[in-house]
Symmetry: C2
Subunit: 373 residues, 2 copies
């Protein structure tokens, strides 16, 4: 369970902050044979991170670190980075906070040596927290945004890129403003929207909730996220989140106004010209937007055929299904499980490349599987 | 691939409208041995439905239908239902439109015999349309809302409930207003929200889209839905959708105002008292709402542990993983596939009941699987 390949990072690496991210970085570097020295203001957290194997405590006679990784809460990150830059004049310092302008701005004001600072944001997380949730493979296959400021030296950027690749991540170069605008659009605003849709369910009739389908479950899944964490993220990135939220509100106003003028049930004759067209345009714009999300392997999203199969809710049944799918020679592009209300059976939706649906259905039917629509 | 058990429905059943829903109802009833007579104003669609086995054409000397199922577009449904009630004085008539007040209101105004009318809404659909997309198993395991009006006789309600159970669905009794409010909350408003979030992506930088994770994909998945279909649904249910959309806008206004007063990055000292608390309350309300969505088997949503595994993108690999999971004796509660950008590997997130994570990880590691965080 270790990142593959030999490390390009030269130790010792100093990791400041032994939460789930700092511990995971330590574990991943240790697994690649890199010397890691840990620090945390909480002695309990520090010793726990050491005990799970994320690195060692500092010793007299240690060489100065070549790289410092600050994995502190976003609001204290600028001060911690400034302190580390001052304490280790030969080290490159990076941080892993999920907003970058809110770190770079205060750092620049503080007069810190920005030639040796490069921000980063590994696009990985865990639903758990603390050193014991750390995993050496947390970053494998994930994008790792590297934010070299105008002052950063090429060598400093290279050391942080190397850290990302040593941990199995894919480095993505962005400036701080582009990063913050990007995560506002693809992460922070979707989080707010999911939370607001889910909040409407608080007053919903239980009978209404019983009609919930996969659509509602998908839209609201991330609404289960931690309020304290998201408050700190949204507060730190308010400058980038607000314009997108305001544009969303303007679009919502348009839909509300159009629907008010298009109440077909109340009086079909009074539906205003253009009102239904406005509603259709909003849904069509959503089609356009969702088609821009890159699909598998970073390419354009591909259109799939979906085969839905009834799966008894018993250990081994899903495996048997997938084995039968495998025997058809058809690759599974996506797989979703859904559960029927009050029935001991699940619906597995298997997405396959267009044109392979018939072949797969024939094989599955031959193995006795019941298909649903 | 047929619904299980003997049919309680007595034929002939007349199905009016041979799109995907009408054809699927015909196929399901025919599979259960019920005589089905088809009608559609489009002769091509009618003959296609007959050719796929959904039923037969009317013949001289046919007995009158005992049950008529109107599967027409929502906007013409009231007129078609009224015509069928008048043409077949011995028949119970139902429809399958996804809004119910917009059907019942015009019917009542028309003076139709409502003792023999019972609305219904099978909570099933297909991403495809037309008779060739019909499937006898479309409704298996899905809720089927049965809307008996105050005038409906008990026998009429029973015939429609029996239709639902014959097709493998689970009948859910609701009045028209409750149904329309329910689908506004759990389906129509989430659709609008997903479309609006996705529409924001139209102007997004491609580099931003490259950072999209599973959260954005989940929130926007249903934004790929058909604009024409959704315009007709939203227009017909505007009365129930608008109050929820307005409440959503009010909540959004609160978040926008609070974030404007909580721009931590611009000036942490000027953050207004209470602003961050307001943001946190909005996210927390989302936690409360999402926890009300019933989980598997209709019970309360259960908390799962998630084990994430790296799966090579080749036929058979996912099957091998699921077989190894099966050998651990741990049941898969949920399964999600995610693909790493520019890498020929997928991440499979396997949800298992709390406490079984360690057991599963040990077995998978023993089989040589690489775990991710």
């Amino acid at each position: 369970m270790t990142p593959a390949g030999a490390a390009g990072t030269v130790g010792p690496v100093r990791v400041v902050g032994t939460g789930v991210l700092g511990t995971s970085i330590g574990l991943g570097l240790r697994a690649a044979g890199v010397d890691v020295v840990l620090h945390d203001p909480s002695r309990t957290s520090l010793l726990l991170a050491r005990d799970v194997g994320a690195g060692r405590l500092p010793q007299d006679g240690d060489p100065d670190p070549r790289l410092v990784v600050v994995a502190a809460p976003p609001d204290v990150t600028p001060d911690v980075v400034a302190g580390e830059l001052e304490a280790w004049p030969g080290a490159v310092v990076t941080d892993v906070a999920s907003v970058k302008g809110a770190v770079l701005g205060p750092l620049r004001s503080s007069g810190a040596d920005l030639t040796r600072y490069v921000g980063s944001h590994p696009m990985a997380g865990s639903e758990r927290s603390g050193p014991t949730a750390g995993r050496p493979d947390l970053f494998i296959g994930r994008p790792w945004v590297v934010v070299g400021g105008p002052e950063s030296t090429g060598d400093a950027v290279l050391r942080v890129r190397t850290l990302a690749t040593d941990l199995g991540a894919t480095p993505v170069m962005l400036d701080a403003g582009s990063h913050d605008a990007a995560v506002a659009l693809v992460s922070h605003v979707p989080q707010v929207a999911a939370s607001l849709v889910a909040a409407r369910l608080v007053e919903g009739d239980p009978a209404a909730l019983d009609l919930a389908g996969q659509g509602l479950r998908d839209v609201t899944r991330i609404a289960a996220s931690d309020p304290a964490l998201w408050t700190s993220i949204l507060g730190a990135n308010a400058g980038a989140v607000l314009p997108v939220l305001r544009a969303l509100r303007a679009d919502l106003d348009v839909v509300i106004e159009a629907l008010g003028a298009a109440d077909v049930a109340r009086d079909a004759e009074s539906v205003q010209e253009g009102a239904l067209g406005t509603v259709a345009a909003a849904i069509a714009a959503g089609n356009d937007g969702v088609s821009r999300i890159p699909g598998k392997h970073g390419g354009q999203r591909r259109a799939y055929d979906v085969v839905t199969v009834l799966v008894p809710d018993e250990p081994g049944e899903l495996a048997r299904l997938l084995a039968d799918v495998g025997s058809s020679g058809v690759n599974v592009e996506e797989l979703q499980l859904e559960h029927a209300p009050s029935q001991p059976v699940g619906l597995a939706s298997v997405s396959v490349l267009r044109g392979l649906r018939g072949q797969l259905e024939e094989v599955l039917t031959g193995h006795g599987w019941r298909l649903a629509g």
